[in-house]
Symmetry: C2
Subunit: 116 residues, 2 copies
């Protein structure tokens, strides 16, 4: 995914590279007001085209949040799941789950089945 | 990625399936206090093993947030990038970018190069 900050980063010291760079994944979350999907997509495409031209670019996926369906909910209703996630040990690790579908994919990750 | 809610979902009506299910991606973000990575990982593995046994499971990746390095920062300092992201049109789409590295990957997405 691509970064789209409206304030470009300031200049910062360049840290020494330690050998070959490891791949990183940018996950960027956008708030899109109702009815503004097309306007958003147009802007997003401009910026993603810029990143696709950069050296080292691998892949990107655009996702859209969806409501969980029955097949997704089923494993969350079993006793086994309940026992796992109600362990007290989980309390110190708050989580924020969101379910998505793939809208658009480019590059290594663009598996055929994921982008119908 | 896997869901780890500490409160299991309540019972909800099962909606009719419309043909074959489309793949979905759950993105779950966990807050892990400093020094608690190993405890978190142990819990996370238990839950991810549960999900890996479910019908329809495809793949998962665990990511850890990292600080941007030089190779990542470079394309964010060009005039072209600045011109793209300072367009007024972006103002209605606030974003929250976070950079990650892959810690662990299983299944379709476990590309060799991504999991050193």
């Amino acid at each position: 995914m691509m970064t789209m900050q409206t304030t470009p980063e300031g200049r910062t010291a360049v840290e020494p590279e330690t050998g070959a760079s490891r791949p990183v994944a940018l996950m960027n979350s956008f708030s899109v007001p109702e009815g503004r999907d097309e306007v958003f997509l147009e802007l997003w495409k401009q910026t993603s085209e810029y990143f696709r031209r950069q050296p080292g670019f691998r892949s990107l996926r655009l996702h859209r949040a969806v409501t969980p369906g029955a097949a997704y909910r089923a494993p969350h209703t079993t006793d086994e799941f309940r026992a796992l996630v109600t362990q007290e040990a989980w309390l110190e690790f708050p989580s924020s789950p969101v379910l998505y579908e793939v809208v658009l994919a480019v590059g290594d990750d663009a598996l055929g089945e994921a982008i119908r």
